[in-house]
């Protein structure tokens, strides 16, 4: 850590540092772009993965916190950039350095109204162009009269804004076309069976070939981050079920872990084991559903029934223990809500017995199929560098040869003790993304095998204070969700509610990458590529 700090301090004397588990650098906006470039390109630093941009409103100033990771040295750093101007807040864009930054900056603009100079596409992301105000600002007027439910169709624009700074520092706004003037634009979604939920692609096509896709989000933007700011910590938990509803357990795990660490709560080993087992069970269930829906996209409808058979068995296990088939709300601060059901061990063993058979069956039915191979092999190839720059984590990132499994890179809970492999492939195509998931089912089963007979005795939930108050500070924790790295940024001002809760989800980059991944491919491939990236729309929109 120290040498990172030294290098930065030497090059940027204005930077101030804050030590913590993650080194936080604060830098004036004028030097931010240079620092970002150094962080990325300096061989001794190589922070090449932009994990998230957290927009912040500290009332007296506004700004962003950028979380960066070095995939080479496996280190993390946070950079704080702020502005005191509340009327026309502006920061410098880093969209030219990281592909994904463009989208993240649009999100910050949408929520806080901070303009990013030089971002090539400075539109709102989730809210409509006629939306009044910036909802995550602390002074936002939330009364329903400000923004009533629209009754007429949303106003659309073919233009986007680009802000630049001229020689004497004045900000200028230019309108630019999203598509070229004569482009033929086809609208796919939001209500379309192949978009996996309410996502919309505005697709410019040349015959059958895709020229450009404008991914249009926000059809299920529920404003969870804002709601959480008015809730107590235990109340915020249940929203984690409703983002990526297949990763309910890992997401819960992440937020619980963050709060427990902030509050200094140590949980029992039994609870740790139960949490990890639930995580892995949901990973299997999630990948099963992926296989089902993905095959259905390709026209192999029967596969859905095969895959859901295993999923139903897992849901039964969860139903017995957690009392629900979905939206479990099982992990709580201090451990888990209830103890395991009496026949949990037996059920898991029965499940483990059938998984290898089932995988073999899927392979026989689908993987070797000629049509499958033609549609998936060599289609939608995402290279390793691209994957990192776009921030595509999880199985999709690992299919591009990027070892990004949080369980290995920044282990949490009891993962360091477990014996499992990180499934990595190097082809980067749809087929690889499919096969990585198949492989991960096997690995998750392996983890379960190691744990199922070794669930320690003890309490499943430690005693925690009735009212949970966190000390002043900020924390950023990640876990490996079923679709990739899920991060929680929590800032506390010492009260019972979070001051800011930012959820960095893996599906947003996965949806953002669709544009660059499909360019030049046929429109039919959009379906397979989109399916293989396996994004969950409420997870994108939050």
């Amino acid at each position: 850590m120290a040498d990172t700090q030294e290098i930065i301090a030497k090059l940027f004397p204005q930077a101030t540092f804050e030590e913590g588990d993650i080194l936080t650098v604060e830098i004036p906006d004028s030097q931010w772009h240079d620092l970002a470039e150094t962080l990325r390109d300096n061989g001794e630093l190589s922070f090449d993965f932009l994990m998230t941009i957290v927009g912040m409103d500290w009332v007296e100033k506004m700004g962003c916190i950028y979380y960066l990771t070095s995939t080479k040295y496996n280190k993390r750093i946070a950079v704080k950039v702020a502005t005191e101007d509340r009327v026309n807040p502006a920061l410098t864009s880093i969209a030219d350095l990281w592909h994904i930054a463009g989208i993240y900056e649009r999100e910050v603009y949408d929520f806080f109204g901070i303009i990013f100079i030089n971002n090539p596409d400075m539109r709102r992301l989730f809210l409509s162009i006629d939306w009044k105000g910036y909802p995550l600002r602390k002074d936002y007027d939330a009364s329903p009269e400000t923004n009533p439910v629209p009754e007429d169709n949303e106003r659309q624009s073919d233009f986007t804004q680009v802000y630049t700074r001229d020689a004497d520092g004045k900000i200028e706004c230019k309108e630019e076309r999203i598509f070229a003037e004569n482009d033929f634009v086809v609208n796919i979604g939001p209500q379309h069976p192949a978009t996996h939920g309410v996502l919309r692609f505005r697709t410019a096509v040349d015959g059958e070939t895709i020229k450009k896709i404008d991914v249009y989000m926000g059809y299920i933007h529920r404003g969870i981050e804002k709601i959480c700011e008015n809730l107590t910590y235990p109340q915020t938990l249940h929203f984690m079920d409703r983002l990526d509803y297949f990763s309910a357990h890992p997401y819960h795990h992440c937020l619980c872990m963050t709060i427990e660490e902030a509050a200094g709560i140590e949980i029992s080993r039994r609870a740790q084991v139960i949490r990890v087992m639930m995580d892995e069970l949901s990973r299997i269930a999630s990948h099963c559903l992926f296989i089902g829906t993905f095959c259905m996209d390709l026209g192999a409808t029967t596969m859905l029934f095969y895959a859901l058979r295993v999923r139903e068995q897992i849901l039964d296990i969860m139903d017995k223990t957690c009392g629900a088939r979905m939206t479990f709300n099982y992990e709580c601060i201090g451990g888990v809500m209830q103890d395991l059901a009496p026949d949990f061990v037996e059920d898991v063993k029965a499940l483990l017995k059938i998984i290898p058979q089932n995988l073999k069956e899927y392979d026989k039915l689908f993987t070797g199929n000629v049509i499958t191979k033609n549609r998936m092999e060599g289609v939608g190839v995402l290279g390793r560098e691209e994957a990192i720059s776009w921030g595509v984590t999880g199985p999709s990132g690992r299919a591009s040869g990027w070892a990004c499994d949080v369980r290995k890179t920044t282990p949490y809970s009891i993962y360091p003790e477990l014996d499992f492999e990180e499934v990595i492939r190097h082809e980067g195509d749809s087929m690889a993304r499919f096969k990585v998931r198949m492989g991960e089912i096997e690995q998750s089963a392996r983890i379960l095998e190691q744990l199922v007979d070794n669930i320690p005795e003890g309490e499943y939930c430690v005693k925690v204070p009735k009212v949970i108050k966190l000390p002043v500070g900020h924390w950023f924790r990640t876990v490996e969700g079923c679709r990739g790295t899920f991060g929680v940024y929590l800032e506390s001002d010492g009260t019972v509610n979070p001051y800011r809760l930012k959820l960095a989800t893996p599906s947003l980059p996965a949806a953002a990458v669709v544009d660059s991944l499909t360019r030049g491919d046929k429109i039919a491939d959009l379906i397979t590529i989109g399916g293989s990236l396996d994004y969950i729309v409420p997870d994108i929109d939050r």
Binding site: E151, D152, V198, G223, Y245, T327, V537
Partner: protein, 195 residues
């Protein structure tokens, strides 16, 4: 669930009573019966899922809950071929006009099931700035189905209630949803659009 409880539905009873009070022509009445028998056993849903509840709807279609037993499995992707929308999931501001348009595109007679707490009333997102607090603010709803998400069994129950409703409707000169829709549009005008 006891059988009596299943039948305990005041709304449908009032429909039956209305039917009995008004009486029907013997010929038309028997045609009604025949057509309604067919309609109520083949209600086709529109594939419409915005979030979590939609996944339970997928489970409903799979082998375990198998809605094909009741003739509901023909999920259509085009609203013009569907009989009802199962609004499975949260509806937010940006989605509201889209849902309204889908509803308008459904062929008559059409029905709506508000599935899940979100569609009924906004559910866990009651305090959100971007969520529509219940789809009945934008389209008329026939069956409300609470739950977060409702279990597939509950969904079966809800669609069964809908099919009961269809059975006691008068088809000829009866299911004039057209009129109802006009009424609805009158109460919820869309500026700039003449219906």
């Amino acid at each position: 669930m006891p059988y009596e409880a299943w039948k305990d539905n005041e709304y449908i009873e009032s429909l039956v009573k209305e039917l009995q009070d008004n009486g029907a022509n013997v010929v038309v009445g028997s045609f009604d019966k025949l057509i309604n028998w067919g309609r109520s056993n083949s209600i086709w849903p529109l594939t419409f899922a915005t979030s979590c509840c939609g996944i339970e709807f997928v489970s409903l279609g799979a082998a375990r809950y198998d809605m094909a037993r009741f003739g509901w499995e023909v999920a259509r992707s085009s609203p013009r071929q569907a009989d009802f929308i199962m609004v499975a999931g949260t509806i937010v501001h940006r989605m509201a006009p889209v849902l309204r348009r889908l509803y308008d595109q459904l062929a008559e007679p059409k029905y709506v099931i508000a599935c899940g707490a979100c569609a009924v009333s906004g559910g866990p997102f009651k305090k959100s700035y971007h969520v529509v607090m219940g789809v009945d603010k934008i389209i008329p709803v026939d069956v409300y189905l609470p739950g977060c998400p409702p279990r597939p069994e509950a969904m079966i129950y809800a669609i069964m209630q809908l099919s009961r409703k269809i059975k006691v409707e008068k088809f000829f000169g009866g299911v004039n949803r057209q009129e109802k829709q006009e009424e609805f549009l009158k109460n919820h005008p869309i500026p700039g659009v003449e219906d």
